[in-house]
């Protein structure tokens, strides 16, 4: 009958109207900024540099290989390699970035830098409340601002961080096994008890 659809529609809207005062499913508003929805685990905004341990300078995983700088589509990363080297997480001396700048006003959050990094050094952050009134300097993040700890990485992306930690532990174990094997083959007689002690 003519008008039936209208009445059904009006009943539904009335249900919405009345229900919005009593039930949460009929009022889905989250009143930002007083209330916030926790972001999804895969949410990503801008990159950050991971460091292990307490000291960001010593524990920074980045070795300034500059792969991310080359792969970045809008070219928002600027890296200057250091002159000296510092030991990385397996102990091997590596370069480190004297300068690592990301211009987040250019960054398009494509995550390519994360995908190509061989050292699990750069990951995606999910912090988005970054508005500032300094349009140019305020949106140019340097190495200190970008460096965040591994614990923070565990907080925001737990599953990923666990996998990365497992992978890095594997690599470290392999490296140590290789070092032990090399030490064993280099000094087979004299270092045998020492190698057994160290393996």
């Amino acid at each position: 009958m003519l008008g039936e659809g209208i009445l059904k529609g009006m009943a539904e809207t009335a249900r919405n109207f009345a229900g919005s005062f009593v039930s949460a499913e009929r009022l889905t508003t989250v009143q930002y900024p007083e209330q916030r929805i926790p972001p999804a685990e895969d949410a990503r905004v801008f990159p950050f540099l991971v460091y292990d341990g307490a000291d960001w300078l010593a524990g920074l995983r980045c070795v300034a290989c500059q792969i991310c700088e080359k792969e970045c589509p809008p070219k928002c990363i600027y890296i200057e390699k250091s002159k000296d080297k510092k030991p990385d997480f397996v102990g091997k001396p590596q370069f480190y970035p004297a300068r690592f700048d990301i211009d987040v006003s250019v960054c398009m959050s494509c995550q390519i830098c994360v995908e190509v990094c061989p050292f699990e050094a750069i990951k995606m952050d999910n912090e988005f409340e970054l508005a500032t009134d300094d349009r140019f300097g305020g949106l140019l993040y340097d190495c200190e601002k970008l460096a965040k700890s591994n614990e923070y990485y565990h907080c925001i992306h737990p599953t990923e961080a666990k996998e990365v930690d497992a992978k890095l532990a594997d690599e470290k174990a392999k490296h140590e096994a290789k070092a032990a094997a090399q030490a064993a083959t280099a000094k087979p007689v004299a270092s045998a008890p020492r190698a057994e002690g160290g393996a």
Partner: protein, 391 residues
Amino acid sequence: MAANLDRVFILLRDWLIGFLPAAIRPAAGVVLGVIAIVCVFPGLFALTTVFERKGLGRMQNRIGPNRVGPFGLFQPVADGIKALIKEDIVPVTADAVVHFLAPLTLVIAVFMEFAVLPMGRNMALVDMGSGLLFFFAMSASTELSVFMAGWSSRNKYSMLGAMRAIAQMISYEIVLVLSSVTVVMIAGSLSLPKIVDAQNHYTGVFPHWYIFTPWGFAACLMFAVAATAETNRSPFDLPEGESELVAGYHTEYSGFKFALFFLGEYLAMFSVSGLGATLFLGGWSAPFSFLAFIPSWFWFFSKVMLSIFVFIWVRGTLPRLRQDQLMNFAWKFALPFTLLDLLVTALWHFLGAGWQRWVFCTVILVAAYVLMGLGQERHKRIGHRTYRYAD
């Protein structure tokens, strides 16, 4: 005590004009009434804008504006300040005089409509013998202002919007007038206070409002549809739909002139709701005889606000009608149904009191509605919905 509360505004007016010399008292009384209307209805308009936004929000599972005051109630103040401080842009090629006069004409015509509405016992500003005709005359003048707005902007979108708006308003004006004529036939007068008096009796507890009669219900339905179309309200808001025509005939208006158009539209909504309340819902009479101690102006404004709520409810529910669907509906369904309703009203009058007239009139109207509704839906063979996905 109840009688005094009922007459509180009249007593207030009499007390105020008592300070003036006797010669100018009648004129001063009218001027005070005008001042009251000019203060009350725009105030109600401000409240309605915020309640509309919050009501629509709740119907759409969200909260409306809630930042500007307690529960967002000062939002119209913010909106008003914004409208006032905006730059008043008049296009270079626009016709400046007509462009300026269009919102004025609209607001003047709409304010005049309030002069005949009986807002309480003895509270109609002017009791004219042909009050209803005056109302429709003013409502016809609003069409002219719509045209002036659309044409003077020298903008094709505005012109298109104005043409569509006028076509829609003229078509539905006929339906509006004819459904009011049914009430006039039974009440026997064009004067609105007399129409309210004709409805102000009770059998037992129940009132004799015309909406409780079969012809009155049908006429009220048609009146409601036509009123929604006259004031360009959703679902009939094609002339000003943002997604179709930018803003239709008020595209080129900014700042205060746009606020005046907005004001005019909402005030037209109030006045046509007031007319509907007067004609079909008994005006200022109470719904049950034992509630008659509550002042009459309270009932009138409650009915008006109820109608406004229904307007908002319908806006939140229905999608916009296309121009041809709208015109089709007016000429092929609404008008024939209203004419039939006229005949049924005459039948009601001539059959005399008794249960027969209730049965006959109801049966005729329901049958006509169902048959004509089938006729309207005949063309729409809407099958099962299929989807094509890109693979």
